[in-house]
């Protein structure tokens, strides 16, 4: 009995944190998506905001645009990050530690500063732009193009892909690989049957950690290509740029956020499906 009370006590700060900073804000988003608070304090139930968020063609466009950037960036992160993590995991320990610190180093800096730094490298006066212009690859600047947004997202979120993949690869028991080789598997089969399934949980958490922040970020597009709004910029404008949203409350922003959360939730449940399949697969073998 006392142990149970003890455990419950230990959990109080965690629960308190979760309730105050996760559950209540989520409920508030949901509340403001379907209730309008009038000036006199009255509350009116309405589905207009949700209807507007779903039927406004431009909002949908913005959502798809953000989804597009996030998917492409996640894919690029995966293509770059997976082999990098593999190489890293197979290095000798001292070298490995040193290089993984190099990957972590940019993460010690604030993400806004990193993006500013990147923007000064790829704007019209930037070193990288000048170099690419000299090579004749591009004409104008990199900033202001859609590629700039993807570059910004990959630059900021690549470590979030590499690290989980790298950790899951480190955990792979080398004896499994040796056994497979003893039984005559070539390296492709080893990769397909052992390394890929066992690193899949890392890949899934990497995808989650890159995809979700990418879809809602507004700072990166605003600093690197501020021509067309993404969904994050739209929500930011609704809350900060809109003189009508008293006290930081804006029904439209809440409704859009709510729809966005549903989309992210669907995407996440698809990703996790892959994960559980992999686990089952591994278990069967």
């Amino acid at each position: 009995m006392s142990k149970r009370i003890n455990n419950a006590l230990k959990c109080i700060p965690v629960y308190l944190w979760l309730i105050v900073f996760t559950v209540v804000p989520l409920l508030m988003v949901f509340f403001y998506a379907i209730f309008e608070v009038k000036d006199d304090g009255g509350i009116r139930f309405t589905l207009d905001f949700l209807k507007d968020a779903v039927t406004n063609g431009q909002y949908l466009d913005a959502m798809l645009r953000s989804l597009e950037y996030a998917l492409i960036s996640t894919l690029v992160c995966l293509v770059l990050g997976y082999p990098l993590a593999y190489i890293l995991a197979h290095m000798e320990e001292r070298k490995r530690n040193f290089i993984s610190v190099l990957f972590l180093l940019p993460m010690w800096m604030n993400f806004l500063i990193r993006t500013y730094a990147l923007s000064s490298l790829i704007n019209e006066q930037g070193v990288i732009t000048k170099f690419l212009q000299w090579l004749g690859v591009i004409e104008g600047s990199i900033t202001g193009t859609e590629a700039a947004i993807v570059i910004g997202m990959v630059y900021n979120f690549l470590p979030f892909m590499i690290l989980p993949v790298y950790t899951s690869m480190l955990k792979i028991d080398n004896r499994l690989i040796e056994a497979a080789r003893d039984l005559g598997s070539n390296s492709f089969i080893v990769f397909k049957k052992i390394i890929l399934p066992l690193s899949l949980p890392g890949v899934i958490s990497g995808i989650t950690m890159v995809f979700v922040p990418c879809i809602t970020t507004f700072v990166i597009p605003q600093l690197l290509n501020n021509k067309v709004w993404t969904i994050g910029s739209l929500i930011e404008f609704q809350i900060n740029g809109n003189a009508n949203s008293a006290g930081g409350v804006n029904n439209t922003a809440a409704a859009i956020s709510f729809i966005l959360m549903i989309i992210v939730f669907i995407c996440m449940s698809i990703f996790s499906k892959f994960d559980s399949d992999g686990a089952e697969n591994g278990g069967l073998m």
């Binding site: 003890n6 006590l9 230990k10 109080i12 700060p13 308190l16 431009q58 909002y59 466009d61 913005a62 798809l64 645009r65 989804l67 597009e68 998917l71 923007s119 704007n123 019209e124 006066q125 104008g140 600047s141 900033t143 202001g144 605003q222 600093l223 290509n225 501020n226 021509k227 067309v228 709004w229 910029s233 739209l234 404008f237 809350i239 900060n240 740029g241 809109n242 003189a243 009508n244 949203s245 008293a246 006290g247 930081g248 698809i270 499906k273 892959f274 399949d277 089952e280 069967l284």
Partner: protein
């Protein structure tokens, strides 16, 4: 060992819980100094001013906070319970705060230095009887262009719609300012409440969008200074800054020129006021008076380089500034310019929707349909794989 650790965790849990619970209640800390809350736009005061004030009035401790936009300032003023004593918002926001009864009246006769504020900046539309606000800085909105890239005369907003400058035009990422440009170009009032006119302005901005290289505020400055673009819409203070920086870069003469188009433009004033949240009104009055003293007004204007309503500070800046058409435009030009008015919520909503439609518009790329298609295929594939796997598993079980 085990017992000890569980005892330790229990104690630390209790302590953490207690701290969290306690922090929920306000703890009064008795301080010898009275706190004075100042809320100003970022980078909008000389670096030494607050220090000088605290030296002159050691009984006050200044808590200085900054905001990005007037809207953000309003959100914080209304939603937080910080007892701000002095605010420095723009004209239309002051009009709103007065309408909503959020400002205290200021007794100007108690401000020794109020006499230095020029008459041109008093009796404005937002504060017609000078009861609530003391002008701090002012300026205009206009076009800054690069003389080396633009050979023709620039005197109209419509040049920003000229297709031969496609990709060389920078626009402000600020709703009221950009809407004002379009409204003025079409010959309408920049405070129009007519929905047809607002929509026409949005249509004009949409037409212009393919020519625009970028929307931004601070990021635009560096681009103009480096000479990479032909036009930007700019506030006069920023125009002056860009001119100076560009002159420095070129080693002498600047190639940037500022113009207030003939159709008219926006003439804005930022002013100091005291919100009703203020708990230290005496300190607030002292601060405002201090800001109006010639020495401090000069300090501030020298740092910010926006136009000053302070007659003595302007004199101290010298002829170079008095005769500068950006810094001190002639009365005829100013007469053609009007300040922004506060918009009623339903009108504001029309402006919001108009601006949203401009900023969300993309040049009809079809990639989104590809993405959508890929997404649907992936979902279908996952479902199919899942179903097949499940069937296989069931088969295995029966075998």
């Amino acid at each position: 060992m085990r017992k000890k650790s569980s005892f330790l965790t229990r104690i630390s849990t209790l302590v953490v819980t207690a701290v969290i619970l306690l922090s929920c209640f306000p703890v009064s800390v008795s301080a010898a100094k009275t706190e004075l809350y100042i809320f100003n736009c970022g980078d909008y005061i000389a670096e030494t001013t607050v220090e000088k004030f605290e030296k002159a009035y050691p009984e006050y401790e200044v808590i200085y906070e900054v905001f990005d936009t007037n809207e953000a300032m309003y959100q914080k003023l209304v939603s937080s319970n910080i007892p701000y004593d002095v605010l420095i918002p723009s004209d239309y926001m002051i009009e709103r705060l007065i309408k909503e009864d959020r400002l205290k009246e200021i007794d100007m006769s108690k401000l020794e230095n109020y006499k230095y504020i020029g008459e041109a900046y008093k009796n404005t539309r937002y504060d017609p009887e000078n009861k609530y606000s003391v002008p701090y800085m002012w300026g205009t909105l206009g076009i800054l262009y690069n003389k080396e890239r633009v050979k023709e005369t620039v005197d109209s907003w419509s040049i920003l719609w000229d297709e031969k400058y496609s990709g060389q035009i920078l626009m402000l990422d600020s709703m009221r300012d950009s809407m004002a440009v379009a409204l003025k170009k079409l010959g309408y009032d920049l405070n129009t409440t007519n929905k047809a006119e607002i929509d026409a302005a949005a249509k004009a901005l949409l037409d212009q969008k393919p020519l625009v290289a970028e929307y931004g505020v601070d990021v635009l400055k560096e681009k103009m200074i480096q000479g990479s673009y032909s036009f930007t819409v700019a506030y006069s203070g920023d125009a002056l800054y860009m001119q100076n920086q560009n002159a420095e870069l070129n080693g002498g003469e600047s190639v940037l020129e500022y113009v207030i188009p003939k159709e008219g433009s926006n003439f804005w004033i930022d002013a100091m006021c005291i919100p009703k949240t203020s708990k230290n009104t005496e300190g607030a009055m002292k601060f405002i008076d201090f800001m109006c003293s010639t020495e401090i007004a000069y300090d501030n204007v020298e740092y910010i380089e926006y136009s000053t309503p302070h007659t003595e500070a302007l004199k101290e800046l010298g002829d170079e500034y008095i005769n500068n058409n950006i810094y001190n435009p002639s009365a005829e030009i100013l007469a053609n310019c009007s300040p922004f008015a506060y918009l009623e919520p339903d009108v504001q909503e029309n402006y919001n929707k108009a601006w949203e439609s401009v900023r969300l518009a993309s040049d009809g790329s079809y990639t989104k349909w590809i993405i959508l298609g890929v997404a649907v295929v992936v979902v279908a594939a996952v479902v199919v794989i899942f179903v097949i796997r499940k069937k296989k598993m069931n088969k295995l079980k029966y075998e």
